[in-house]
């Protein structure tokens, strides 16, 4: 490569980095091309290595601190557990894909798949049995270990308990004697009271001592040995896989769509035979009805789709689609209205009270309002043409567009509309006077003025507003989904919170990262768009 081409590549890369907002990588590229290595290396260390080290430090702190905090839903998960949650959720998604494919297979391919799955199942079942045996051995061994650890403690506890009981008996008999003496007017009341007080203190101390041993006992019982835990996990993993393979087999054989259709057709054929041979009018009628029903069932089955469980990636896709719909609605309202506001002070004055009052309203309130309003629009969503239309679309059809999605999107739109509107109005109203004078001297018409002067001039601010809007929209959407149980990432979090299994907490934190990373990517995309339309620094898209 010639000198100038290398230079060109270098500056192209630098510009791409600059436009996409990853300025941190700038010294890395320069260092790679050998520009002032010493300075660049220092910059790489300061602005890249140091932050990475800091993040690693945070992860380390998290790993150390998390297990010390015990909650109702178990310990706070460590980074490792969160990563495991990612793997589990990803596997779940893959398995759903496999099952869906199995459900739809037919003919030769289906037979081949059955053979493959059976082979896998054979291997896994053997492994599962082996793992279970290993687990039983380890379980016995660790049970013995636990018992061995428990025995001395239990003995100590029993001894202490016996000793304390005797002492307590002695004390209470003394107290009874003193009380009798006081009743007979020969003993001192003070002495009795002191004895009672003394007894209470001692009993308290004895109980405390007993409790300590008891705690030690329950600690030994509740913490299973590491080897046992590992064996259990391994055994569970294999058992899980066996279960999955069995399910696959089910979807390949009796649960397969094609097989179901065949079964329904056979049933119809039988009914037809009965119809042919039937003699009484009642029997004929019954058989005929059964034929028609059979035909209908076959037709319906042929169109059936796999009843997919909502996995995390499905929820991500749905959330992204919802936020896209809501954001588009927000932009479609905000930009024209913002331009009107910026152009005309009266319109601005009219809209200011509305903006001021509705802008601070909580998304939760909007969600409830839209839930009611949208619900009223679609009394029978299944048969509504809008949803049927969405259902028939290639990619979006699988997302399950329903009224819940519509009202979530509306909530996003109404919360995201304000920053875009206000920024657009500001952008339009702050157009350079000179540019407007140019328009006046040229006697530009309304449309030319709008599309050649006003909109280009305000685009950077419009995009700044849209960027804030998208951020707000994404944040609002997750909350809205969690609250309304509308499918999406929010629902994923909410379901995990509700189901409270041992993995839930890790899943919630995993979802937290997913939400954050997607939000970050969306923001970056908006920055890229903003940079590509802003004329001030002459940056064009690379």
């Amino acid at each position: 490569m010639s000198e100038s081409r290398i230079e060109k590549l270098k500056y192209g890369l630098l510009k791409a980095i600059d436009v996409s907002g990853f300025r941190v990588l700038d010294p890395v590229v320069r260092l790679f091309f050998g520009e002032e290595p010493k300075k660049q290396a220092a910059d790489v260390f300061k602005y890249l290595i140091t932050p990475i080290a800091f993040v690693v430090l945070c992860l380390a702190a998290w790993t150390v601190i998390a297990p010390r905090h015990k909650t109702r839903s178990g310990e706070v998960p460590t980074p490792r557990e969160v990563w495991a949650a990612f793997v589990v959720n990803d596997t779940l998604n893959d398995r759903e894909d496999e099952k869906e494919a199995d459900f739809q297979l037919s003919g030769e391919a289906r037979m081949a798949a059955i053979a493959r799955v059976r082979e896998q199942l054979r291997v896994k079942e053997a492994e599962s049995i082996q793992r279970k045996a290993e687990l039983a051995v380890i379980k016995d061994r660790s049970e013995a270990e636990i018992q061995a650890a428990l025995a001395p403690l239990q003995q100590a506890y029993d001894e202490l308990k016996a000793k304390n009981t005797t002492e307590q008996d002695v004390r209470s008999s003394t107290i009874r004697q003193l009380a009798a003496a006081v009743a007979a007017r020969i003993g001192s009341t003070d002495q009795l009271l002191t004895a009672i007080r003394d007894d209470n203190t001692k009993t308290e101390a004895e109980r405390e001592a007993e409790k300590q041993i008891k705690d030690a006992l329950s600690d030994v019982r509740s913490v299973p040995p590491k080897a046992l835990k590992a064996a259990q996990l391994a055994s569970n993993a294999v058992a899980n896989e066996v279960q999955h393979l069995n399910k696959r087999l089910d979807y390949l054989e009796s649960g397969n769509r094609d097989q179901k259709v065949v079964a329904a057709e056979q049933k119809t054929a039988v009914a037809r035979q009965t119809l042919d041979t039937a003699t009484t009018p009642a029997a004929v009628l019954a058989a005929a009805k059964s034929v028609v029903r059979g035909e209908e069932t076959a037709a319906r089955t042929a169109e059936q789709s796999y009843p997919r469980t909502a996995t995390i990636w499905f929820q991500v896709r749905r959330s992204l689609f919802t936020v896209f719909v809501g954001f588009t609605m927000a932009a479609a309202i905000a930009i024209p209205v913002g331009i009107l506001c910026g152009l005309n002070k009266v319109v601005m004055a009219c809209l200011t009270p509305i903006i001021s009052i509705f802008k601070p309203v909580s998304p939760v309130v909007w969600l409830l309002i839209f839930q009611i309003v949208v619900g009223a629009f679609f009394p029978d969503p299944e048969s509504h043409p809008l949803f049927q239309f969405f259902g028939s679309l290639p990619l979006i059809g699988g997302l399950g567009v329903n009224p819940a999605l519509i009202f979530s999107a509306c909530t996003v739109a109404v919360c995201a509309v304000w920053p875009a509107l206000v920024n657009t109005a500001l952008g339009v109203s702050s157009i350079d006077r000179d540019h407007m004078n140019v328009a006046r001297v040229l006697r530009l018409g309304l449309w030319t003025r709008l599309f050649r002067i006003i909109i280009p001039s305000s685009l950077p601010l419009v995009f700044a507003g849209l960027r804030i809007s998208l951020g707000v929209g994404w944040m609002v959407l997750i909350a809205a989904e969690a609250l309304s149980s509308s499918d999406g990432l929010g629902k994923f979090v909410w379901d995990e919170y509700q189901n409270g299994s041992s993995h839930s907490f890790a899943n919630i934190i995993f979802a937290c990262f997913v939400v954050g990373i997607i939000g970050f990517i969306l923001d970056r995309i908006m920055i890229l768009m903003q940079r590509s339309v802003s004329f001030d620094d002459g940056a064009a898209v690379v």
Partner: protein
């Protein structure tokens, strides 16, 4: 000669009626057809306001501005104005900036004709090769040349130059002065130029009109420039006529400024008596 541009008894001020600041009072000016008039004045005397009046961007409080006898009520492409700060549209290319005006003034021109026409003006101001560049990528001189091309491409009957060269360095400035005069001589039309540079005015104009210092600025004496064209800036300095005229105008302006200074109420400010408490050079 017919009057191309007329200003009659124009007053302009701002602020509410009870505490009004008059910027321009009693302005009267008649510009003949194809005459090059330079209006020279101090900064802050309302030169740009006068230009806005001529362009129609601003309406006078009383009096009127006429062009070919018609009262000017709004700005339009027939009075092409060259703004002091170029006023280019930063999101359009060099070509796009010119095209915007051309499309508006010649709506029936075909696409290829228009491209040729624009290219002609780009060539006229020597910006060939920079057609696709944005104004942000151009130097100050190139920007003003583009601005000039944009204005000229609209074939204005009157050209209004609002301190077009004041933001440029001396060399670029001299270059552009020559260029403007050259273009004007090729295709004569009425020009009103505002400037604060006496040399520039004498070099370029047919007539120089002084604007008295504001507030309440008005037009002062008028000096006809009878030097032969084309005027060569290198030899002009030795031309006695040029030197006399230049000194004459300069003295007139200095006197004006002096008088304005005397008219201005002087406030005696008592300055605090300060002296270093201890001052030792180390």
């Amino acid at each position: 000669m017919t009057a191309s541009l007329e200003i009659k008894n124009v007053d302009v001020g701002f602020g509410p009626l009870n505490s009004r600041t008059e910027v321009l009072t009693n302005i009267n000016l008649t510009v003949r057809r194809n005459e090059f008039v330079a209006i020279i004045g101090f900064s802050g005397s309302g030169k740009s306001t006068l230009m806005n009046l001529l362009a129609g961007i601003q309406r006078p409080d009383c009096g009127e501005v006429r062009m070919h006898g018609q009262v000017v009520t709004e700005p339009g492409p027939e009075r092409g104005i060259l703004f002091q700060n170029y006023s280019l549209l930063p999101w359009l290319s060099v070509f796009g900036n010119i095209e915007l005006g051309v499309k508006q003034v010649f709506p029936n021109m075909s696409r290829s004709d228009r491209a040729d026409y624009i290219q002609h003006y780009i060539q006229m101001v020597s910006l060939t090769g920079a057609e696709r560049k944005r104004p942000g990528e151009l130097s100050g001189g190139m920007r003003q040349r583009l601005s000039l091309a944009r204005t000229l491409s609209m074939k204005p009957e009157v050209l209004l130059l609002d301190e077009p060269l004041s933001a440029l360095d001396a060399l670029t400035r001299a270059n552009l002065q020559d260029e403007i005069v050259r273009i004007w001589e090729e295709d004569r039309r009425t020009v009103v130029m505002i400037t604060n540079d006496v040399d520039e005015a004498v070099l370029m104009a047919d007539r120089i009109v002084a604007l008295t210092p504001g507030p309440k600025a008005t037009l002062g004496e008028s000096f006809p420039v009878t030097l032969d064209r084309p005027r060569d800036r290198t030899t002009l300095n030795f031309n006695p006529k040029f030197r006399v005229l230049r000194n004459h105008v300069t003295r007139y302006l200095t006197d004006l400024n002096h008088k304005a200074g005397q008219l201005r109420p002087t406030v005696d400010l008592t300055l605090p008596k300060l002296s270093p408490y201890e001052f030792t050079a180390v």
